[in-house]
């Protein structure tokens, strides 16, 4: 079975380069550590909060605060998995071995996404439990309404970020160009667009703004977001699908350079 052969081959590729290990471990460590830190700080701050702010206090979401930075490592992982083929010239050997480009790309994405999913889910649960431990008496329980959904959603969110990056890298091919666009976009631009009043209505349909809704258990006060947690994740998934289609179409059309 050709697809199984490609998956096996891609698994060998991904486990035999150091960048896989360091990008994924960085994503895990940063997400969990920063989440714990912010949880600890929030616990101390709770005493001085107004009653209004206490109403919107969302311990689950707070424990995922590290994801804003940890996702950058996930982006690097996704970009490198795909663009390494081009920057090293390996793409010629890869496509000579697997000339059906759709099979090649889907094999690569399957392996990288499965790996990202396992790491992201573990990170999501670890960030939640360790973050709650930091929050002390203000903590949420995994059994509370919406909490399990948010934790699993956090894992899915990170996975989709990685997959989106793979799609973008498949379109752009160059690692520097892909990272140069994705990193500032997710770290700065999207946040600005999503929080400035003038652009908020559009900004909240950006992939990370929409997708991160799934990690909220307690909605912010005066929440006007026109979609729910799964709706948000669905919007993010649409972005991912668009990036992947773009990557696939360009891979089919272009010469393998």
């Amino acid at each position: 079975m050709a697809a199984a052969q490609v998956v096996r081959s891609e698994w060998t590729k991904i486990r035999s380069v150091a960048s896989t290990v360091w990008t994924l471990s960085l994503a895990v460590v940063v997400t969990i550590a920063l989440g714990m830190l912010i949880s600890a700080l929030s616990k101390n701050e709770f005493e001085t909060m107004s009653a209004r702010d206490r109403l919107a206090f969302d311990p689950t979401f707070i424990s995922f605060a590290g994801m804003s930075l940890g996702q950058l490592a996930m982006i690097v992982f996704g970009v490198l998995v795909v663009s390494n083929e081009y920057s090293t010239g390996m793409i010629r050997a890869s496509l000579a071995a697997v000339p059906r480009r759709g099979t090649f790309l889907s094999g690569k994405l399957t392996v990288a996404t499965a790996l990202a999913l396992v790491v992201s889910m573990a990170t999501g649960f670890a960030a939640f439990f360790l973050g709650q431990a930091m929050l002390g008496e203000h903590k949420a329980s995994i059994g509370d309404a919406g909490v399990l959904r948010a934790v699993i959603g956090g894992g899915l969110y990170m996975t989709l970020i990685a997959l989106f990056s793979m799609g973008v890298a498949a379109m752009l091919r160059s690692p520097m160009l892909s990272l140069g666009i994705l990193m500032p976009f997710f770290f700065l631009i999207s946040n600005i667009l999503g929080n400035v009043d003038a652009t908020k209505k559009v900004g909240r349909f950006l992939p990370d703004q929409a997708g991160s809704k799934i990690m909220q258990v307690v909605p912010p006060l005066e929440d006007e977001t026109p979609y729910g947690p799964w709706g948000g994740l669905g919007i993010m998934a649409l972005w991912v699908v668009a990036a992947l289609i773009g990557g696939y179409v360009l891979l089919q059309r272009r010469d393998a350079q």
Partner: protein
């Protein structure tokens, strides 16, 4: 067998490969010769389905490349540009290629042994010299034990021992009945390895001939004579019905006569000779003439922009 039919590649206005039609047959080494930039690598990439032809067709054993099941078991290729992840070991590089084509793991060890990289198999490729990288590329080509092998400038970066090794390897692969297609911009290299020659210049087919035929048609043998009594020598030669051409530096070139005969002729007429030698025009010169002719052809057909003189690169080298 590789069959090209009207294979064409255009990048915008620029024609890189221009209606190439030829067949690469099994059991012999076919040399693919042309100056740098003639379109050899582009042609080879199109054979592997990496670049899409603008027009025309190329088939491997009668099938399109992307229709081959486990293509590495049909055709193995060493491409000019290095294509190895620097952080991956030689072993893993070969293993991932093998797995994608259902080639057993022991083949990885076998080809590493064949190219002499077993000792460094677990080392990252970034530490490899140019020659080791080339050997790794050759190992990848041999991986699927294919009936067809294609090498793009294989001797580049190899030391003399490595060059000897690759020549022997190519000849033995052909002797096993495999199709061996190897590109070079050096005629001298081809003369040592190839049985058949395909010559291209600026993407066009210039010659498709056996090596023996090429040598017969293109290598001129003549006699060089130098004498202080040049005028008398010319007279004597003329009387004997021999045409001599002055070549500018005081010596004469005589086509179609043996040195012995000219020597005897001079002795009979008591002429002093300072030089009498049989000369063979090199194949490099023949190759240069061949590509130079098509430059003129292009010039006459009204090429819009001035082109780089063909053969410049290898003449310098």
């Amino acid at each position: 067998m590789i069959e090209l039919e009207g294979l064409t590649k255009r990048y915008g206005e620029k024609v890189a490969v221009d209606r190439l039609t030829f067949t690469v047959r099994p059991g012999i080494v076919t040399g693919f010769l042309g100056p740098n930039g003639a379109g050899k690598s582009t042609t080879m990439r199109m054979i592997l389905g990496l670049d899409r032809p603008t027009a025309g067709d190329v088939r491997i054993d009668g099938t399109h490349y992307d229709r081959l099941k486990d293509p590495l078991t049909y055709i193995g290729a060493l491409l000019e540009a290095k294509g190895v992840h620097p952080g991956r070991s030689a072993y893993h590089h070969l293993l991932c290629l093998a797995q994608s084509n259902k080639i057993p793991r022991r083949r990885v060890h076998e080809v590493l042994d064949t190219v002499g990289l077993t000792a460094v198999a677990r080392k990252k490729a970034k530490g490899f010299s140019l020659g080791m990288g080339q050997r790794l590329g050759i190992a990848a080509a041999l991986l699927g034990d294919p009936r067809i092998l294609m090498f793009d400038e294989p001797v580049n970066g190899l030391d003399p021992e490595g060059i000897h090794w690759i020549r022997t390897l190519m000849k033995s692969l052909a002797a096993q009945g495999r199709t061996v297609f190897v590109s070079s911009h050096l005629m001298s290299e081809m003369a040592l390895t190839a049985d058949h020659l395909v010559v291209i210049g600026q993407g066009r087919l210039l010659a498709d001939t056996s090596m023996a035929e090429f040598i017969e048609h293109n290598s001129r043998s003549y006699v060089r004579v130098r004498s202080p009594q040049r005028e008398r020598l010319l007279d004597v030669l003329h009387q004997a019905g021999i045409t001599a051409v002055e070549n500018g530096n005081g010596s004469l070139e005589v086509d179609g006569s043996k040195a012995e005969y000219i020597g005897e002729l001079a002795a009979r007429n008591q002429l002093v000779l300072h030089e009498l030698s049989s000369q063979q025009a090199s194949l490099e010169e023949a190759f240069m003439r061949l590509t130079a002719e098509s430059v003129e052809y292009h010039a006459h057909s009204g090429a819009p922009e001035p082109r780089q003189q063909w053969g410049d690169d290898w003449r310098r080298g």
